[in-house]
């Protein structure tokens, strides 16, 4: 099954600082992010994206 390609985190920032109540955000270094990705247009594109990864991927299922 094909998956997502062209994944990118485009922005990150501290979005919890100064909130009215305290939280665990600072303890874990929690940041807000924006990310995008695209559903692969074909199995071939997905296979090529997997092959281009520089890390191991878990087995399917």
């Amino acid at each position: 099954m094909a998956g997502f390609v062209d994944f990118e985190i485009t922005w990150r920032a501290s979005v919890f600082a100064g909130a009215p109540q305290s939280s665990s955000a600072e303890k874990f270094g929690t940041q807000g992010i924006n990310f995008q990705a695209r559903k692969a247009a074909s199995e071939a594109e997905w296979d090529a994206a997997l092959a281009a990864l520089g890390c191991e991927t878990p087995p399917p299922g």
Binding site: W11, P20, Q21, F28, T30, N34
Partner: protein
Amino acid sequence: MAEPARPAAPIDLDVDALRAAIRKEYETVALDPGRGFHFHTGRTLAAIVGYEEGWLEGIPESSIESFAGTGNPFSLGVIAPGERVVDVGSGGGIDSLIAARMVGPEGCVVGVDMTPAMLERARRAAAESGIENVEFRKGLMEALPVEDGWADVVISNGVLNLTPDKGRALGEMHRVLRTGGRVQIGDILVEREVSEASKRNIDLWTG
């Protein structure tokens, strides 16, 4: 609404209890948005994450004040006229209503949320604003009430972090997208390791 069978969550966690805690938290956001939370809300939050003032024009204050996202899906790319959008975890409706204006009368938006009070707030806001190309459905991110391949874009804002089975939620986003469709998502990441004990602490998921 039939809830899906409990997912094979990678974390040893009572998923039903987690969902109940999240519903309770966001019910409070819907019913009492001004009380102050451990996260920013409303126009303050919109400014922090970079929402353009023009996007908020014509959006009912009831949607804006219950905004509780963590990012800005609209900064990731143009949502074009005629597109179909699914908003996963639509809350009080702000992102769905913004998207509905962007796609125009030839497009449409389906917002999905599991919290009844938020759905009610979103539906009232849609009616108040006269925005007709948006629909809000009750559902879970792990079992979206949307047909296969329906959407051009899936947006979500501060929601994916609330499921212990992100693989299943992302799989659902993938399922409802047409081939070549895209996700534009606001969420969170953590920079420090979270212990297994912390992962099982429901209070840390909601605060």
